[in-house]
Amino acid sequence: MNLAAATNESLANTSNVLIYSSMAVYTLAFFAHIAEWVFGSRSKVGRTSAALAAGPASAAPAVTARVTGKGGATAVLDRPKIVTRSAAGTRDVPDGPGAAGGTFKGDLWGRIAVSLTVVAFLVQAGGVVTRAMSVRRAPWGNMYEFSITFSTVAVGTYLLLLALRKNVRWMGLMLVTTVLLDLGIATTTLYTDSDQLVPALDSVWLWIHVSTAIICGAVFYLGAVGTLLYLFRDSYENKLANGGSPGAFARSVLERLPAAASLDRFSYRVNAAVFPLWTFTIIAGAIWAGDAWGRYWGWDPKEVWSFITWVAYACYLHARATAGWKGRKAAYLALIAFGCWLFNYYGVNIFVTGKHSYAGV
């Protein structure tokens, strides 16, 4: 490593300013989301969707398939239409209308919130990049840097899903709130001055292993949000189906969320999609440990908790394929697995000493 490449103070300051600015914009996005939920609560659309919840299976939503055949231009009406129906044993409940509840004002505020989130994301990403430039290395040398990258990736993934027209706007408020929390903790208790790396971290594996670890954490987080909301929405639907009446607040919020089945599917897909990457992260870490410490696997606390997290997610995937464990039980396993991930990040870095002692706190 080149000692002359001293850390660049002014870039480091720019980075700090950008991170604080992004927090300000996220705060605005937070209030816009609140407005979205408040205006949406006055909607009547939500009520009717709740009434549908108890409806018969014949209300299966019909979907016209988009046909991209060679024939091209024949009128849509001439095409055969695809009828879908839910698999046996799942509730046929349509998705809620979203936070805005179908109201114009709510939707407007929701769009403002998403736009603000885009701005905040760009500013925050700028903060991460300038931090990296100030130290001329990957910006992942200590917990402050992990944290700011972590929430950048989480928001980036959310925006990417939105851009791909996936139905994810329902998680906006929760995401922005936790991003603010994450950045708050990062800039106060975890803050570390910008600096070079200790030799043990100076390796290409830093780019590979730590970047994938951060991506996995961020995406697992989105999955966990989906799982948590699934549990709430599922008990709400159960209550309705059994003729119960949820409280006014719970009803107002939960009826606007996607159907439990959709939330469940969302979190399964997200978790399943990153599980191979998490496997790769652990293996990349083992290869790096083999180079740096002379052993591939030494049951260091960080390694142990990565392994526990991995096994916990494997448990979740198995549970989904096992009769009697689908649904809520599997969801609890997913939350436990994410809890393991969180503990591996905060708990192990701060409270447990091991070879991975670079938390900088």
Binding site: I82, D193, Q196, A292, G294, R295, A312, A319, V352
Partner: protein, 572 residues
């Protein structure tokens, strides 16, 4: 496909059968009525069930937790000893439960061995079943295709055989395994999902076996080398050497190397002053018994690899060069003495032992010992502390006090080279009867009282310690890991699905086409794919002019896209 209580559902169940090789759950409550064999069978069936695999997986993660919170012998024995000293009541309990050796404990081993037995017991029948599925054909169409998760129908002027043939062609082109059964075409795709899943589980076994073999066959030795000194790879040259129980001592790879120079640099300014920046061991090595010498640099993340053996840079420190003269002024000892760091700024301690050659002023043979305390960067006289201020050698100071008598090295007991056993020695004292001690700068000398000679701190060298490891099986472990990831990706991203196309002539002579799709569970991709297939078939068999047969429930949105379309591909 659980509650198959109507004929119709049973029929659908048959269509969905063998979409995977997952073992079917049996109720745990039914206890065997037969004797020993029945019990064994029952136990085996339980062990290889998904539910028990799930529980074992859960136990495995639970069981790994204590090892991360309680110090482990395999990780840091000193920490374990500290813990045991501090917790005298807990220690015996922990020892009984093997909590200082969690990962080699009986109970932890039991969990993973059971899991892997279960895994093998699961893979073998699944592989067999899957091979069968590969040879067999997709099941024929259920009678009522309307009950399937994705369905479409239209009437066409084309003849039924023509439609079926066209459908089979289209499906084959899309690499569906296709065949005609009765009045319908049955097709299936996505077998790679199952193959990937099996590959993943097999790869897990490969990894475990490779890991276990590595543990049994590995060797790992430590060697501390002062700049200028060398090492050749034989058992006697190691400071310490550990090996797996099946390791063969004769198989050490022959090579040698010399530590030419160790370079450590540290942050000089700012709040991170003292943080390490570079560690480099510059070495000259030779492969084989008398290979050509070559130069190389070993860094923290970059071991030197010689014929499969890896040489890692593990630690470093200082070795003050001292010389000792006896009463007659003859140099009887001169060496660079490695000292062990006790803090991050490399404050170091150790012992200098003059074992033979020294004679006191009366010409009597005796031995000398010195306790050495070294700081690479001294705070300055009168600054209170004798601890180092900085890990670089900016202001090196060596503090010594000495003894004469017997070092006790002949007693036959193994001795720590960094510690002085002064039980058989007398301390040198100064004129006032005080303990003789002195702080030396490089080049300075401490005279021993009454013409007993002197000791000179000449200069400072650095030492580096290396770990030389041989770990067979890592190639297999890595291969297993790569196969596991590939298999996992196949298992999670590929969908296995079936499509049926039925074409029959209606009572009015017009052909009715029905298409339906079934996957492992509902998925947004399935209707979309069916739509594409239907679109393609529709160009061959267009809707008859008088078509009135669009199903009522399909009156839907009419939008170009499915109303909801979650992340693609990850669905089962």
């Amino acid at each position: 496909m659980s509650n198959t209580n109507t004929t119709e559902e049973r029929e659908l169940g048959a269509a969905g059968e063998q979409l995977s090789t997952a073992p079917r759950e049996e109720s745990a409550g039914t206890l065997p009525a037969m004797g020993a064999i029945g019990w064994v069978r029952w136990f085996w069936r339980q062990l290889t069930s998904m539910r028990v695999a799930l529980i074992l997986l859960f136990l495995l993660s639970l069981g790994a937790i204590p090892g991360s919170l309680i110090p482990q012998n395999s990780v840091d024995e000193l920490k374990v000893q500290d813990f045991q000293r501090a917790h005298t009541t807990l220690t015996p309990v922990y020892e009984k439960l093997q909590l200082f050796d969690v990962y080699s404990s009986v109970w932890f081993s039991a969990i993973y061995i059971l899991l892997f037995v279960s895994l093998i017991g699961c893979i073998v029948p699944r592989t067999y079943q899957f091979a069968g599925q590969l040879r067999s054909r997709p099941p024929g169409a259920p009678r009522r295709l309307t009950r399937l998760p994705a369905y479409t129908t239209w009437r066409t002027g084309a003849g039924p055989e023509e439609v079926r043939e066209a459908a089979a062609g289209i499906l084959r082109e899309r690499r569906f395994r296709t065949h005609a059964v009765g009045d319908a075409v049955a097709a299936e795709k996505g077998y790679l999902r199952e193959a990937g899943n099996l590959m993943f589980h097999i790869a897990l076994i490969v990894m475990l076996v490779a890991f276990a073999a590595g543990q049994l066959l590995k060797s790992e030795g430590g060697k501390l080398i002062v700049e200028g000194d060398g090492f050749s790879n034989t058992l006697t040259q190691y400071d310490d050497f550990k090996s797996g129980s099946l390791y063969d001592d004769g198989s050490l790879v022959p090579f040698s190397f010399t530590l030419d120079d160790f370079v450590g640099t540290y942050e000089k300014n700012g709040p991170q002053r003292g943080t390490p920046r570079t560690f480099e061991a510059r070495v000259t090595y030779a492969e084989g018994v008398d290979g050509k010498p070559e130069k190389s640099v070993i860094r923290v993340n970059e071991p030197l690899v010689v014929d499969g053996t890896k040489i890692y840079l593990i630690a470093h420190g200082y070795a003050p060069v001292v010389s000792v003269k006896d009463g007659s002024g003859k140099v009887v000892y001169r060496a660079a003495v490695p000292l062990l760091p006790i803090d991050n700024n490399i404050t170091s301690t150790g012992a200098i032992k003059v074992m033979d050659g020294y004679r006191d002023k009366n010409g009597e043979k005796t031995q000398l010992g010195f306790e050495a305390f070294f700081v690479p960067t001294f705070a300055g006289a009168g600054k209170g502390t004798m601890f180092s201020q900085f890990p670089g050698a900016e202001f090196p100071v060596l503090a010594l006090n000495g003894f004469h008598g017997s070092l006790g090295v002949d007693s036959g007991l193994p001795q720590n080279v960094y510690q002085l056993d002064s039980s058989e020695m007398k301390e040198f004292t100064d004129g006032d009867g005080q303990k003789l001690k002195k702080r030396l700068l490089p080049g300075e000398t401490m005279e021993l009282p009454d013409g007993a000679g002197s000791i000179t701190f000449e200069s400072v060298e650095e030492w580096a310690s290396f770990q030389v490891s041989e770990q067979p099986g890592t190639g297999w472990a890595l291969g297993g890991a790569v196969a596991a990831i590939a298999g996992l990706a196949g298992s999670l991203f590929i969908q296995r699905r079936r499509v049926w196309v039925r074409a029959v002539r209606g009572t009015d002579g017009v052909t009715v086409v029905e298409m339906a799709g079934l996957g492992r569970s509902e998925s947004a991709r399935l209707p979309e794919e069916l739509g594409e297939l239907a679109g393609e078939l529709h160009t061959v068999a267009p809707t008859a002019p008088d078509a009135t047969n669009i199903p009522e429930s399909a009156s839907g949105s009419g939008s170009e896209k499915p109303s909801e379309e979650p992340a693609e591909g990850a669905e089962k």
